[in-house]
Structures are given as C-alpha cells and as structure tokens.
C-alpha cells in the first residue's frame, strides 16, 4: 500500500500581474523523506515555501499537509508544520526563554508542556546559558538556533527548512544536519532549500530543481545527472547543466 504523502502540492501557481513566480508545481513528499528543493536566486523557492506554510495565498492550485489543505483548514495544517525561514522571525525584545513560552502559547501547548519543551529545546540547541538574554543581542547563529527551536516546539510532522545552516559554525551546522537525519528517521517529512549543494547532496533522499517557477527536474542526485545528460556527474554539474541558460552574458565575457 502506497504511503499517504505528508506534503502534496497540486498545480500550485503564483502570479503577480503578468509575472508568473511559480507555475503549475506538482510535488509530493512522503513521511520520513528528506526533499532538497534547489534553484537559483529568484527561481521561486521562497515563494513556494511561503505558499506551503500559509504566508502567501496561491493564485491557483493547493497545498496539503497530512491531507489538510493549508488554505482551507489552516489551523489543522499549521499544527503539523515547523518552518525555519531564511531570515529568522523572532521577537527580539523578549528573552530566548520568554519567546519560546510565547510561541508555545500560540501553538496551544499547555503551560507545563510549553515550559518543559522550552527547556528541552534550549538544551538541544545549546542555548540554556543564554536563555535569559534578549534575542536582540544574539549572533546570527544563535538566532538561527532559536528559529529551529521555535519550529520544533510543537513536535511538527512536516519541517520546512529555508537555508537552515546559514550563519551556523561548522560544529553547529554538523549538529543540525544530524538532527535533520534523526527527524526523518522518526517519520518527519523534511523539505530543505539551500544554496550549498553539498548539503543537499548529503542529506536529501530526493532533489527537486525549480527554474523560472517550474519544477524542471526531480529525483535522486544520480537521476538528476541522467536528466542533465551527464550520467555519473555530481550535483553541482547537474545543477549548472539544467539551469544553463541562467549564466549571465557578462560572466561569459569574463
């Protein structure tokens, strides 16, 4: 019996006037699968992510999380989603601990559960010693860790990670990568976007390549190389070949 998809995008489209940011995107991600979502700057990754988490309404098509339409049953769908945006969204005038308590309230956790989960995640992210400092005074790496802790607070079954290792030092980045693998082993569906292709190659079970708003390739790294017509090539070569028309004229001249 086929597993029900944790994430399902059906004919997802977003237009702004004459400009089409995302065009007829179809995609499904299974529970426990890590899906790498790649594309050049402005290809439509972040727009797609925003539609998936309920920040931007699609022009047409739908997004279902564990069978719930994000735009028709937002409360049920959002309970299942954890999202780490590329720029951490944090209440900078609260301390780390206060912020997690606040988010626990918004996610409907009980007071005791919220407090326990807060301590657990602060410890997991190595932020316990900084828990009573204002987030405003955190470094980018610490803010990124706070964003990850926030996304995990309500034990989501779907994780959407946008450039999740940006700003992290090598050790913290390694820890986060290990965590992503561990979450997937527990059945969490993970979608990650990154510009660091080695991370996508290392973590992803499957990789999708979005180019000018369209999903132009989808499969394992080896399958992408096949689709690019260079079997056995690494992800970087496949990526460059599949998005080849993107190379600016000035760069060619140089």
């Amino acid at each position: 019996m086929a597993t029900k998809p944790a994430i399902l995008l059906e004919d997802l489209t977003k237009t702004y006037g004459d400009f089409t940011a995302v065009q007829g995107l179809n995609l499904s991600v299974r529970p426990g699968e890590i899906f790498g979502f790649l594309g050049a700057n402005g290809a439509g990754k972040t727009t797609t992510m925003k539609m998936m988490v309920g920040l931007l309404p699609p022009t047409s098509g739908r997004v279902c999380i564990l069978g719930r339409d994000v735009w028709r049953e937002p409360a049920a769908a959002k309970r299942a989603i954890g999202y780490v945006p590329d720029t951490p969204i944090l209440h900078e005038l609260l301390t780390a601990r206060e912020f997690l308590w606040f988010m626990a309230d918004l996610y409907g956790l009980s007071r005791s559960e919220g407090k326990a989960r807060t301590e657990e995640l602060l410890s997991l992210m190595g932020l316990t010693a900084q828990a009573d400092r204002l987030i405003r005074d955190f470094s980018l790496g610490m803010k990124r860790k706070m964003a990850i802790a926030t996304a995990l607070l309500h034990r989501p079954r779907v994780l959407l990670l946008d450039e999740v290792t940006n700003g992290l030092d090598a050790r913290a980045a390694r820890e986060v990568k290990d965590l992503v693998k561990a979450w997937a082993r527990e059945g969490v569906a993970v979608v990650l976007t990154t510009h660091i292709l080695s991370i996508a190659e290392e973590l992803s079970d499957r990789i999708g390549l979005i180019h000018r708003g369209k999903l132009i390739a989808n499969g394992t790294a080896a399958e992408l190389a096949e689709q690019a017509g260079i079997p056995g090539a690494g992800l970087e070569e496949s990526f460059l070949a599949l998005t080849g028309d993107e190379l600016p004229q000035e760069a060619e001249t140089v």
């Binding site: 702004y16 006037g17 400009f19 727009t47 988490v53 309920g54 920040l55 931007l56 309404p57 937002p74 409360a75 049920a76 959002k78 309970r79 989603i81 999202y83 945006p85 969204i89 944090l90 209440h91 005038l93 609260l94 301390t95 206060e98 606040f102 988010m103 309230d105 918004l106 996610y107 409907g108 400092r133 204002l134 405003r136 005074d137």
Partner: protein
C-alpha cells in the same frame, strides 16, 4: 471564544513583557523612568496652565473638561487603533510569525487591544489629573475619577473604531493604507503644534474646556459619529459574528503581504550628485539627500512641515505691522517650529539615523574632520532652505517690505544656525555610541568613548533633543528682544550664540577624540 481570549492574553502579555524588557529590565539607564518623567512633566505644565474655576462654575468646568478629555482620548484612540494597529497587524516583523501558527487571527486583533490597556489607563490618568485642576477643590477628586473613567472608555471605543477603519481599509484598499498614517500623523502634529503655540502664548486648558463646553453638542455628535458608533459596531460584531472581522482581517493581510512581495521587485534609478572635488562630501551629500528623497517617512514629514507653514501664514497675517522683534517672535519662531517638528531629527540624529552603515566611514578610513564637515553641510543646507521658504510665506502674508523680510530671514536663519550648531555638537558627542549597543547583562560593553551617559540610548536621545531645542530657542529669544526673561542685549547674544558654539566645539572635540578611523 475562550481559546481566542486566552491566546489574546498571551499576545498582550508578550507585548507587555517586551516593553518592560526594553524600557526597564534591560535598559541600563531605565529609559522607562525617563519616559514616565517626561509624561508627568507635560501633564504638570498643562495642569499649571489650567486654573480652577470659581466654586459656582464647578459643573460647567466638569462638562468642559469631560468634552476636552473625550475629544483628546477619542482622537488618540482612533489614531492608535489605525496607525499602531497597522504596524502591529500588517507590517511588523512578527506578522508572519503569527501567520505560521494555528492561532486564530482574531486573537491578534484582540491581543493588541488588550495590550494597549495599561498605557491607556496610565496616560488617561495623567490627563484626567491635569484637567481636574479646572474644577474647584471640593469637586476635584471625584471629577478626576469621572474624567479618568470617561477618558478610558472613549479611548477604548475609539481604538476599536480605528481598528475597524484599518480592517476595512486593508481589505478593500491595501495599496493606499499607509496614506492613512500620513493623514493621522499630519493632523496630529498640526494639533500638537497649535496646542503648544496656544499654551505658550498665554492660553489655558481652562479656556479650552469652557470653549469645548459651549460646543459640547458638536463635540459629542462628532465623537459619536467618528468613534462611538464604529467602535461599538466593531465590539458588537466581535461578540456576535467574530468570523466576519477575522475573515476581513485575514483577506486584507494577504493582500498587504502580496503587495509587499511585489514592491520589493520594483526597479529604481541610480543617481549621484554631480559635485566635483571632495569625494567624501559628494558621497555623504548624495547618500543623505537620496535617502531623504526616497524615504516615505520624509514625505510625511514634508506634509507636517507644510501644515506648520500654513500656521506661519496665519501668524504672518496677524503680525502685519508689528516691529521686527515681534515678527521674529511670531513668524520666525513658527517657521523654526515648523522645521523643528518635521525635520529637527536631521540634526539630532545626524550620525545615528544611518544605523549600521555609519561603520562604512570607518571601514573606508574617512578622516573624521571631513566626515563632520560633510554631515554638517548635509543637514544645514536643506534646513536653511526650508526655514527660508516658511519665512517667505509668513513675510508675504504680513505684506512685509523686502528689507524687513530680508531682516527677518537673517534673524531666523541665525537662530537656525544656532540650533544646527548646538544640536550637531551634541549629536557628534554621541556619535561614538554604537547603534545597536548591547544592553543585556554580560554582553560585551560598547567601545569606551566617554562617560556612562554616552552608553545610554535614552540619555543620548534626551540630550540630543534638549541640545537642539535649547540651541534653537536661545538665538530666537535674543533676536525677539529677550521676552519672558529680560537680559541686556550683549549678554543675551553672548549666551544665545555662545552656548550653541560651545556645544558644537565640545561635541566635535569629543568625536575627534573618540571616533577612530
């Protein structure tokens, strides 16, 4: 609704906690105390200028004071609901955060109303205390209680009216929503300016209250139409059909978020000043003036300046035939006030409004004296131009001969020069303070460059504002013939120009010592 109310409380609590953290807990100099002190001082000044009526006029005083506080809290309530609501519910960094959670949007609306309550209770209490002095002693304290309750009630209903306006505006005209802020800002500044002029020219709150009593029917009708009915309508809808409000807010928010996405893709045009010679001067002037030309806030401030200039026009008509000292005291003072209200921050924040980009001058090893000169020119030139425009408007309204108009312009520009010198000096003294200096316990201290005072945002803001205001006022006072505090002309001028000059020299001196490129 129970779940929504609990969530609303959580949102309100986070707002209170953030304010507490910012103003008291993590503020080294306890900025909240300064803020409370300033509010108290303002209420004290108004109370001093609100003499009690005779005992037999106590009732009239209460009615007038009620009309006054209702009009005031009604206006600020609507403005708070609309303008602050816009920041909190449509534009702030936290808006996407709320969107990500399963919490109902209604909770954010209600949470912000609840969050505003303590501030509303406190500020209304201050104004109720100030206006209660209109009433003769036996009735003062009961009057204070009535004023407070009515003020809080009207303010709350008006806040809801502002939110209703915001929700409907955001839903059907999201593109023009920010213009509402401009309108509220300009009208409020015009009213505050009028109140300052009125009080400083001998008017009292008692006279205003009595005038409001005469016009109480009109005040009540206007309040009911603008704030009461819409506010109560929203309150009733929240009780009976909350999903209607929620759906309109949600749809409006999506449209605003979508517009924001599109706005970020709008192409601009690259411009640079075609100045020859000093590259630092060219860079600083281009950066500052392009920033102004592209800033939406600067456009709003220009409207505030225009509103002030309209005041100058009327002052000019009233001052026709007055001697030069009188002209300086009316047209000159109001021209300077119009500039101060709208653009005084150019001077007092000349180094700080750049925020982190101020570090670029250090990275490029720009010599500090050249940076100082360029920054001084960047604020002095447009300020001088704007004040000249306002003085010209006043002079035309007063039908001044060219020679008198030129004399008036000279005196006013001299006062402006004093203001720019003193304000710039204080700003320079605090330039070394990092824009995002960490204030949390255990955080690394800011670069040592002065006293503990230098390390406090709140004190620096206060010092910069006071330095600018005093430096503007003193030359004006001397040019207007030393009203209020008579002093021989040489002493007055020595003080009027000496203090701004001393501030400039000492402030620049501090900057030269502490600003290492």
């Amino acid at each position: 609704m129970n779940g929504v109310f609990t969530l609303s409380l959580a949102i309100a609590r986070s707002g209170w906690q953030a304010s507490w953290n910012r103003m008291f807990r993590f503020s080294r100099m306890k900025a909240g105390l300064i803020w409370l002190g300033l509010q108290g001082a303002l209420a004290f000044v108004v109370a001093r200028r609100a003499p009690a009526l005779a005992p037999d006029a106590g009732d009239a005083g209460l009615v007038g004071a009620l009309a006054l506080i209702a009009a005031q809290t009604g206006w600020f309530g609507i403005m708070g609901g609309f303008s602050r609501g816009q920041v909190q519910l449509y534009q702030g960094l936290l808006v996407p955060l709320f969107q990500l959670t399963p919490a109902r949007p209604l909770a954010f609306l209600l949470g912000r109303v609840i969050e505003s309550l303590p501030t509303r209770l406190w500020t209304t209490l201050l104004w109720a205390w100030a206006y209660s002095s209109i009433m003769p002693p036996p009735g003062r304290w009961p009057g204070l209680a009535v004023l407070w309750l009515v003020g809080v009630g009207v303010g709350l209903v008006a806040h809801l009216a502002g939110l209703l306006l915001l929700t409907v505006w955001g839903r059907f005209q999201p593109r023009t929503m920010r213009h509402g802020n401009t309108i509220f800002g300009v009208l409020t500044m015009a009213m505050v300016t009028a109140a300052i002029i009125y009080l400083s020219s001998g008017g009292t709150a008692t006279e205003v209250a009595l005038a409001m009593r005469q016009a109480r029917r009109a005040v009540l009708t206007t309040l009911a139409a603008v704030a009461g009915l819409p506010g109560l309508l929203l309150a009733a809808t929240l009780l009976v059909r909350p999903q209607w409000v929620e759906e309109h807010y949600r749809q409006g928010l999506y449209r605003v978020l979508e517009l924001n996405e599109q706005d970020s893709d709008r192409p601009g045009r690259s411009l640079w000043l075609p100045l020859r010679g000093d590259g630092v001067l060219r860079a600083v002037l281009s950066r500052e003036w392009l920033h102004l030309a592209r800033s939406r806030m600067a456009r709003t401030q220009l409207l505030i300046f225009i509103a002030g200039t309209v005041g100058v026009f009327f002052a000019g008509r009233a001052a026709a035939g007055a001697p030069m000292a009188g002209l300086v005291g009316s047209i000159g003072a109001l021209s300077l006030l119009a500039w101060f209200n709208a653009f005084g921050h150019w001077v007092s924040k000349v180094f700080r409004q750049e925020r982190v980009t101020i570090a670029l001058y250090r990275l490029a090893a720009v010599p500090t004296p050249r940076l100082i000169v360029a920054k001084l020119v960047s604020v002095a030139v447009p300020s001088g131009f704007l004040v000249a425009v306002a003085v010209a408007v006043g002079s035309l309204a007063a039908h001044l001969p060219l020679a008198d108009a030129a004399g008036l312009l000279l005196w006013t520009e001299m006062a402006l020069l004093g203001g720019v010198m003193g304000g710039f000096g204080v700003a320079a003294a605090f330039a070394n303070q990092e824009p995002e200096d960490p204030e949390a316990p255990g955080a690394p201290p800011v670069e040592q460059g002065g006293s503990a005072l230098v390390q406090s945002n709140a004190w620096s803001a206060l010092a910069r504002t006071v330095g600018l205001a005093v430096s503007c006022a003193l030359p004006l006072w001397a040019a207007a013939g030393t009203p209020w505090l008579a002093a021989p002309a040489p002493v007055a001028w020595a003080l009027a120009l000496g203090l701004p000059l001393a501030l400039l020299v000492s402030g620049v001196g501090v900057m030269l010592r502490t600003w290492r490129t």
